[in-house]
Protein backbone atom coordinates (compact mmCIF):
# COMPACT_ATOMS: atom_id res chain seq x y z
CA UNK A 1 0.00 0.00 0.00
CA UNK A 2 1.82 3.11 -1.22
CA UNK A 3 2.06 6.44 0.61
CA UNK A 4 -0.23 8.02 -1.99
CA UNK A 5 -3.04 5.60 -1.07
CA UNK A 6 -2.77 6.54 2.61
CA UNK A 7 -2.87 10.24 1.66
CA UNK A 8 -5.90 9.68 -0.60
CA UNK A 9 -7.82 7.82 2.12
CA UNK A 10 -6.94 10.55 4.61
CA UNK A 11 -8.16 13.25 2.19
CA UNK A 12 -11.48 11.48 1.46
CA UNK A 13 -12.02 10.86 5.17
CA UNK A 14 -11.36 14.48 6.11
CA UNK A 15 -13.65 15.71 3.31
CA UNK A 16 -16.53 13.56 4.63
CA UNK A 17 -15.89 14.80 8.16
CA UNK A 18 -15.80 18.46 7.16
CA UNK A 19 -18.75 18.31 4.72
CA UNK A 20 -21.29 17.97 7.55
CA UNK A 21 -20.33 21.12 9.47
CA UNK A 22 -19.87 23.09 6.21
CA UNK A 23 -23.29 22.14 4.81
CA UNK A 24 -24.88 22.80 8.17
CA UNK A 25 -23.77 26.44 7.87
CA UNK A 26 -25.72 26.89 4.65
CA UNK A 27 -28.80 24.77 5.27
CA UNK A 28 -30.91 24.17 8.34
CA UNK A 29 -31.58 20.50 8.89
CA UNK A 30 -35.17 19.75 10.00
CA UNK A 31 -35.53 17.61 13.18
CA UNK A 32 -37.01 14.70 11.18
CA UNK A 33 -33.89 14.65 8.97
CA UNK A 34 -31.67 14.86 12.07
CA UNK A 35 -33.40 11.78 13.50
CA UNK A 36 -33.07 10.01 10.16
CA UNK A 37 -29.33 10.74 10.08
CA UNK A 38 -29.02 9.48 13.65
CA UNK A 39 -30.76 6.24 12.73
CA UNK A 40 -28.61 5.98 9.58
CA UNK A 41 -25.48 6.13 11.72
CA UNK A 42 -26.85 3.37 13.99
CA UNK A 43 -27.71 1.19 10.99
CA UNK A 44 -24.19 1.60 9.57
CA UNK A 45 -22.57 0.76 12.94
CA UNK A 46 -24.56 -2.45 13.34
CA UNK A 47 -24.03 -3.46 9.70
CA UNK A 48 -20.29 -2.89 10.08
CA UNK A 49 -20.29 -4.96 13.28
CA UNK A 50 -22.22 -7.79 11.61
CA UNK A 51 -20.08 -7.96 8.46
CA UNK A 52 -16.81 -7.75 10.39
CA UNK A 53 -18.01 -10.42 12.86
CA UNK A 54 -19.29 -12.91 10.27
CA UNK A 55 -17.28 -12.41 7.08
CA UNK A 56 -13.66 -12.49 6.01
CA UNK A 57 -12.51 -11.77 2.45
CA UNK A 58 -16.10 -12.06 1.17
CA UNK A 59 -16.71 -15.46 2.83
CA UNK A 60 -17.68 -16.87 6.24
CA UNK A 61 -15.20 -15.92 8.95
CA UNK A 62 -15.65 -19.19 10.88
CA UNK A 63 -17.45 -19.86 14.19
CA UNK A 64 -14.87 -18.67 16.72
CA UNK A 65 -15.07 -14.95 15.91
CA UNK A 66 -18.90 -14.55 15.83
CA UNK A 67 -19.11 -16.65 19.02
CA UNK A 68 -16.73 -14.24 20.76
CA UNK A 69 -18.68 -11.24 19.45
CA UNK A 70 -21.97 -12.81 20.59
CA UNK A 71 -20.56 -13.35 24.09
CA UNK A 72 -19.46 -9.71 24.13
CA UNK A 73 -22.91 -8.56 22.94
CA UNK A 74 -24.63 -10.47 25.77
CA UNK A 75 -22.28 -8.86 28.32
CA UNK A 76 -22.84 -5.41 26.77
CA UNK A 77 -26.62 -5.80 27.05
CA UNK A 78 -26.12 -6.70 30.74
CA UNK A 79 -24.19 -3.41 31.17
CA UNK A 80 -20.82 -5.00 31.89
CA UNK A 81 -17.96 -2.42 31.64
CA UNK A 82 -16.65 -1.75 28.13
CA UNK A 83 -13.09 -3.17 28.48
CA UNK A 84 -14.49 -6.40 29.94
CA UNK A 85 -16.87 -6.66 26.96
CA UNK A 86 -14.03 -6.21 24.48
CA UNK A 87 -11.66 -8.55 26.29
CA UNK A 88 -14.42 -11.19 26.53
CA UNK A 89 -14.71 -11.15 22.73
CA UNK A 90 -10.99 -11.80 22.37
CA UNK A 91 -10.81 -14.42 25.16
CA UNK A 92 -13.83 -16.46 23.98
CA UNK A 93 -12.57 -16.44 20.38
CA UNK A 94 -9.03 -17.36 21.44
CA UNK A 95 -10.23 -20.21 23.70
CA UNK A 96 -12.46 -21.64 20.94
CA UNK A 97 -9.52 -21.58 18.51
CA UNK A 98 -7.31 -23.19 21.14
CA UNK A 99 -9.98 -25.92 21.40
CA UNK A 100 -9.88 -26.49 17.65
CA UNK A 101 -13.01 -24.49 16.71
CA UNK A 102 -12.27 -22.05 13.88
Amino acid sequence: MPLLAVAALAAFTFAFRLAGPLFRDRFTVPPAAQRLLGSAAAVLLVALAATSALTQDGGFAGWARPAGVLAAAVLAVRRVPFPVVVLAAAVVTALLRLGGVH
Binding site: A10, R17, G38, A40, L48, A50, S52, G59, A61, A72
Partner: protein
Amino acid sequence: MRMSWRTAERPRGRELRRDVALVCLADGIVGVSFGATAVAGGLPGWLPVLMSLLVFAGGAQFAAIGVVLAGGSPVAAVAAGALLNTRLLPYGLGVADVTAGRWWTRMLGAHLTTDETVAFALRQDEPAARRTAFWTCGGWLFSAWNVAVLLGVLAGTAVKNTSAFGLDATFPAVLLALALPTLADMRTRAAAGTGAAAAVALTPVLPAGLPVLAALGGLAWLWRRR
Protein backbone atom coordinates in the same frame (compact mmCIF):
# COMPACT_ATOMS: atom_id res chain seq x y z
CA MET B 1 -30.12 9.03 17.68
CA ARG B 2 -30.49 11.98 20.02
CA MET B 3 -34.04 10.92 20.84
CA SER B 4 -33.24 7.33 21.67
CA TRP B 5 -30.31 8.34 23.84
CA ARG B 6 -32.51 10.37 26.13
CA THR B 7 -33.31 7.38 28.32
CA ALA B 8 -29.65 6.40 28.66
CA GLU B 9 -27.58 7.79 31.52
CA ARG B 10 -25.90 11.16 30.98
CA PRO B 11 -22.43 11.10 32.52
CA ARG B 12 -20.90 14.36 33.78
CA GLY B 13 -17.48 15.23 35.18
CA ARG B 14 -16.02 12.19 36.90
CA GLU B 15 -18.40 9.84 35.15
CA LEU B 16 -17.40 11.33 31.78
CA ARG B 17 -13.70 10.89 32.52
CA ARG B 18 -14.29 7.30 33.62
CA ASP B 19 -16.32 6.46 30.50
CA VAL B 20 -13.74 8.13 28.22
CA ALA B 21 -10.97 6.13 29.92
CA LEU B 22 -12.93 2.91 29.36
CA VAL B 23 -13.46 3.73 25.66
CA CYS B 24 -9.76 4.61 25.28
CA LEU B 25 -8.82 1.30 26.88
CA ALA B 26 -11.23 -0.63 24.63
CA ASP B 27 -10.15 1.17 21.47
CA GLY B 28 -6.56 0.82 22.59
CA ILE B 29 -7.05 -2.94 22.41
CA VAL B 30 -8.46 -2.51 18.89
CA GLY B 31 -5.51 -0.24 17.97
CA VAL B 32 -3.02 -2.85 19.17
CA SER B 33 -4.94 -5.39 17.08
CA PHE B 34 -4.76 -3.09 14.02
CA GLY B 35 -1.02 -2.43 14.30
CA ALA B 36 -0.26 -6.08 14.93
CA THR B 37 -2.52 -7.27 12.07
CA ALA B 38 -0.85 -4.93 9.57
CA VAL B 39 2.70 -5.89 10.51
CA ALA B 40 1.88 -9.61 10.81
CA GLY B 41 0.56 -9.40 7.22
CA GLY B 42 3.93 -8.17 6.01
CA LEU B 43 3.33 -4.41 5.76
CA PRO B 44 6.05 -1.99 6.92
CA GLY B 45 5.64 -0.69 10.49
CA TRP B 46 5.42 2.99 9.54
CA LEU B 47 2.32 2.41 7.39
CA PRO B 48 -0.26 1.62 10.14
CA VAL B 49 1.30 4.35 12.34
CA LEU B 50 1.06 7.07 9.66
CA MET B 51 -2.40 5.87 8.64
CA SER B 52 -3.67 6.11 12.22
CA LEU B 53 -2.43 9.70 12.55
CA LEU B 54 -3.86 10.89 9.21
CA VAL B 55 -7.02 8.80 8.79
CA PHE B 56 -7.94 8.22 12.49
CA ALA B 57 -10.89 5.92 11.70
CA GLY B 58 -10.51 2.33 12.91
CA GLY B 59 -13.11 0.76 10.61
CA ALA B 60 -11.75 2.34 7.43
CA GLN B 61 -8.17 1.56 8.45
CA PHE B 62 -9.06 -2.10 9.01
CA ALA B 63 -11.00 -2.20 5.72
CA ALA B 64 -8.17 -0.65 3.68
CA ILE B 65 -5.47 -2.82 5.24
CA GLY B 66 -7.76 -5.86 4.88
CA VAL B 67 -8.14 -5.27 1.14
CA VAL B 68 -4.37 -4.88 0.71
CA LEU B 69 -3.59 -8.00 2.76
CA ALA B 70 -6.20 -9.95 0.74
CA GLY B 71 -4.35 -8.97 -2.43
CA GLY B 72 -6.55 -6.06 -3.52
CA SER B 73 -5.21 -2.99 -5.32
CA PRO B 74 -4.41 0.30 -3.51
CA VAL B 75 -7.35 1.89 -5.38
CA ALA B 76 -9.73 -0.78 -4.03
CA ALA B 77 -8.26 -0.29 -0.55
CA VAL B 78 -8.85 3.47 -0.68
CA ALA B 79 -12.37 2.96 -2.09
CA ALA B 80 -13.30 0.50 0.67
CA GLY B 81 -11.98 2.78 3.41
CA ALA B 82 -13.53 5.91 1.90
CA LEU B 83 -16.92 4.25 1.40
CA LEU B 84 -16.92 3.09 4.99
CA ASN B 85 -16.18 6.64 6.09
CA THR B 86 -19.15 8.16 4.25
CA ARG B 87 -20.96 7.56 7.55
CA LEU B 88 -18.86 10.40 8.95
CA LEU B 89 -20.94 12.82 6.87
CA PRO B 90 -24.13 12.39 8.95
CA TYR B 91 -21.94 12.28 12.07
CA GLY B 92 -20.43 15.64 11.11
CA LEU B 93 -23.91 17.12 10.71
CA GLY B 94 -24.87 15.75 14.10
CA VAL B 95 -22.00 17.46 15.93
CA ALA B 96 -21.75 20.61 13.74
CA ASP B 97 -22.81 22.82 16.67
CA VAL B 98 -20.13 21.23 18.86
CA THR B 99 -17.18 22.08 16.59
CA ALA B 100 -18.51 25.52 15.54
CA GLY B 101 -16.29 28.53 16.28
CA ARG B 102 -12.93 29.41 14.77
CA TRP B 103 -11.79 27.76 11.54
CA TRP B 104 -9.15 25.70 13.34
CA THR B 105 -11.57 24.30 15.93
CA ARG B 106 -13.74 23.24 13.01
CA MET B 107 -10.76 21.57 11.28
CA LEU B 108 -9.56 19.88 14.46
CA GLY B 109 -13.13 18.91 15.38
CA ALA B 110 -13.65 17.43 11.93
CA HIS B 111 -10.53 15.26 12.30
CA LEU B 112 -11.72 14.06 15.73
CA THR B 113 -15.20 13.13 14.42
CA THR B 114 -15.48 9.37 15.03
CA ASP B 115 -18.13 6.86 16.12
CA GLU B 116 -17.01 7.29 19.72
CA THR B 117 -16.70 11.09 19.99
CA VAL B 118 -20.08 11.58 18.27
CA ALA B 119 -21.68 8.99 20.55
CA PHE B 120 -20.30 10.77 23.62
CA ALA B 121 -21.40 14.22 22.38
CA LEU B 122 -24.92 13.18 21.42
CA ARG B 123 -25.53 11.54 24.79
CA GLN B 124 -25.57 15.04 26.29
CA ASP B 125 -28.55 17.40 26.07
CA GLU B 126 -26.83 20.68 27.04
CA PRO B 127 -24.62 22.37 24.35
CA ALA B 128 -21.80 23.03 26.86
CA ALA B 129 -21.85 19.45 28.14
CA ARG B 130 -21.81 18.24 24.55
CA ARG B 131 -18.71 20.28 23.74
CA THR B 132 -16.92 19.04 26.87
CA ALA B 133 -17.79 15.42 26.07
CA PHE B 134 -16.70 15.72 22.44
CA TRP B 135 -13.34 17.42 23.05
CA THR B 136 -12.46 15.32 26.11
CA CYS B 137 -13.21 12.09 24.28
CA GLY B 138 -11.55 13.30 21.06
CA GLY B 139 -8.28 14.39 22.66
CA TRP B 140 -7.80 11.30 24.77
CA LEU B 141 -8.97 8.91 22.06
CA PHE B 142 -6.60 10.37 19.44
CA SER B 143 -3.67 9.95 21.83
CA ALA B 144 -4.71 6.48 22.99
CA TRP B 145 -5.42 5.21 19.46
CA ASN B 146 -2.06 6.28 18.05
CA VAL B 147 -0.01 5.03 21.01
CA ALA B 148 -1.91 1.72 20.85
CA VAL B 149 -1.27 1.26 17.12
CA LEU B 150 2.44 1.89 17.73
CA LEU B 151 2.42 -0.72 20.52
CA GLY B 152 0.58 -3.10 18.17
CA VAL B 153 3.26 -2.65 15.52
CA LEU B 154 5.94 -3.49 18.10
CA ALA B 155 3.93 -6.47 19.40
CA GLY B 156 3.07 -7.72 15.91
CA THR B 157 6.74 -7.76 15.04
CA ALA B 158 7.34 -10.03 18.04
CA VAL B 159 4.16 -12.19 17.95
CA LYS B 160 3.28 -13.64 14.56
CA ASN B 161 -0.04 -15.51 15.02
CA THR B 162 -2.36 -12.72 16.28
CA SER B 163 -5.58 -14.57 15.40
CA ALA B 164 -4.75 -17.12 18.12
CA PHE B 165 -5.41 -14.31 20.62
CA GLY B 166 -8.85 -13.57 19.15
CA LEU B 167 -7.96 -9.96 18.40
CA ASP B 168 -10.13 -9.99 15.27
CA ALA B 169 -13.25 -10.36 17.47
CA THR B 170 -12.56 -7.12 19.36
CA PHE B 171 -13.47 -4.75 16.50
CA PRO B 172 -17.10 -5.91 15.95
CA ALA B 173 -17.52 -6.14 19.74
CA VAL B 174 -16.51 -2.47 20.11
CA LEU B 175 -18.94 -1.40 17.35
CA LEU B 176 -21.84 -3.34 18.87
CA ALA B 177 -21.21 -1.95 22.34
CA LEU B 178 -21.17 1.55 20.85
CA ALA B 179 -24.37 1.06 18.86
CA LEU B 180 -26.29 -0.48 21.77
CA PRO B 181 -27.72 2.71 23.37
CA THR B 182 -29.12 3.89 20.01
CA LEU B 183 -31.01 0.62 19.62
CA ALA B 184 -33.47 1.40 22.42
CA ASP B 185 -35.78 2.79 19.71
CA MET B 186 -37.86 -0.02 18.16
CA ARG B 187 -37.85 1.27 14.58
CA THR B 188 -34.10 1.97 14.64
CA ARG B 189 -33.59 -1.56 15.95
CA ALA B 190 -35.68 -3.03 13.11
CA ALA B 191 -33.78 -0.90 10.58
CA ALA B 192 -30.40 -1.96 12.00
CA GLY B 193 -31.36 -5.66 12.08
CA THR B 194 -32.64 -5.67 8.51
CA GLY B 195 -29.69 -3.62 7.28
CA ALA B 196 -27.14 -5.88 8.99
CA ALA B 197 -28.75 -9.01 7.50
CA ALA B 198 -28.69 -7.43 4.04
CA ALA B 199 -25.07 -6.35 4.43
CA VAL B 200 -23.93 -9.85 5.46
CA ALA B 201 -25.90 -11.45 2.59
CA LEU B 202 -24.41 -9.03 0.05
CA THR B 203 -20.81 -9.32 1.27
CA PRO B 204 -19.87 -12.26 -1.01
CA VAL B 205 -21.13 -10.44 -4.14
CA LEU B 206 -20.28 -6.77 -3.62
CA PRO B 207 -16.82 -5.12 -3.30
CA ALA B 208 -15.67 -4.48 0.29
CA GLY B 209 -17.38 -1.46 1.83
CA LEU B 210 -20.50 -1.43 -0.34
CA PRO B 211 -22.56 -4.01 1.66
CA VAL B 212 -22.39 -1.76 4.74
CA LEU B 213 -23.78 1.15 2.69
CA ALA B 214 -26.49 -1.12 1.24
CA ALA B 215 -27.61 -1.68 4.85
CA LEU B 216 -29.08 1.82 4.76
CA GLY B 217 -32.00 0.26 2.86
CA GLY B 218 -33.10 -0.96 6.30
CA LEU B 219 -34.04 2.64 7.07
CA ALA B 220 -37.29 1.96 5.18
CA TRP B 221 -38.55 0.67 8.54
CA LEU B 222 -38.62 4.22 9.84
CA TRP B 223 -41.59 5.03 7.57
CA ARG B 224 -43.69 2.08 8.68
CA ARG B 225 -46.50 2.32 11.22
CA ARG B 226 -45.96 6.03 11.84
